[in-house]
Amino acid sequence: MYVFLKGLWKEHPIFRQLLGMCPTLAVTNTARNGLFMGLAVIFVLFFASCIVSLIKKIIPHEVRIAVYTVIIATLVTIVDIFFKAFFPDVSRALGPYVPLIIVNCIILGRCEAFASKNRLLPSLLDALGMGVGFCWGLFLLGSIRELFGSGNILGFTIFPACYNPLVVMILPAGAFLVLGFLVSAMNCIENRRKR
């Protein structure tokens, strides 16, 4: 169980390991974009870990990273095509960042560091934990930025109409600001707990 839970908090990919910063900063301008990006990463991470864990013994050691990359790229392309076919709006909003999941270091990192050394079930739990952790991180970041940047969450108006949106929050600078605050909040909580 710990294998699953550690991705949600203790080894959280965004706030503890600071991995996958590119989508974290780029697509979290609204809660919905963050959520869909998170879901895409869960899908890719889960199946990549599954396949890597199953074929770890038959891949020659020298080309393992290349093979992992091919597998990840295939899964990402499937997600990209799926979004284009069934969620064209989301696909337009996420733009090039869906194909860029290929170079998201969380996925290759988990394949190399965990799935290639562990059996199927732990690998799946690890992938799910990390994926869900990444997803809630993106969703939280997206919600905060959308709330202050446009007064909505998931398109629902939260702040009254007289609220003057802080446009900086949905611009790249807002991503760095919010991420900084969230990481420091996370460290603060962890330090308190240790004491």
Binding site: P60, I81, P88, I170
Partner: protein, 182 residues
């Protein structure tokens, strides 16, 4: 030569071939839907801009251009896609004109990645509305004050480059379309 040469190359090639096969299968089953989505977006934008158009027909003589007809098969206008470079990336516009290519019925932004809060306002109603009924016998021009002539567009404050891109993309494409139609 490394004695593992064939094993390594074989494994990698096999993995690539398998993935390529899988992808071609996935793409094949989804490509129809993706094309339909794109077409649906364009036709629904045309219908919104020109409610009189009941028949939308893709022209074969000009690329990305549609002929619009009413119920009695009379020509009521043309619609065309116009693509070009914006401030941050590609902009794709849809323009709808009257049957004689003398005035614009309206425009829609199909694709753009302009700066949120500034350049992204080219997607806003306030900016798009300016194009309705504009005279396009002469090229459109961009100004910073309130328009006085019927071919002028007021630039968005803080997003001059994005506004200029829209006007330039339209001018270029209208010129091209006019030459092909006449």
């Amino acid at each position: 030569m490394n004695k593992n040469f064939f094993k390594i190359t074989g494994a990698l090639s096999f993995a690539c071939a398998l993935c390529a096969f899988l992808l071609s299968f996935v793409y094949e089953s989804a490509s129809q839907r993706i094309r339909e989505n794109e077409e649906k977006r364009i036709t629904s934008s045309i219908e919104k801009l020109a409610p009189r158009a009941k028949k939308i027909e893709l022209l074969t003589s000009v690329e990305d251009m549609y002929r619009l007809e009413n119920e009695e098969n009379q020509l009521v206008g043309y619609a065309f896609l116009a693509k070009g470079q914006g401030y941050q990336g590609k902009i794709t516009l849809l323009g709808v004109t009257g049957p004689d290519l003398k005035y614009l019925i309206g425009i829609e932004v199909i694709e753009s990645v302009e700066t949120p809060g500034l350049g992204s306002k080219i997607r806003g109603e306030e900016f798009k509305k300016q194009f309705e009924g504009l005279n396009i016998s002469d090229p459109l021009s961009l100004i910073k004050e309130k328009p006085v002539k019927d071919n002028q567009i007021k630039a968005i404050t803080g997003a001059t480059v994005s506004s200029k891109s829209v006007v330039n993309i339209l001018n270029k494409r209208i010129e091209q379309v006019r030459q092909k139609i006449n």
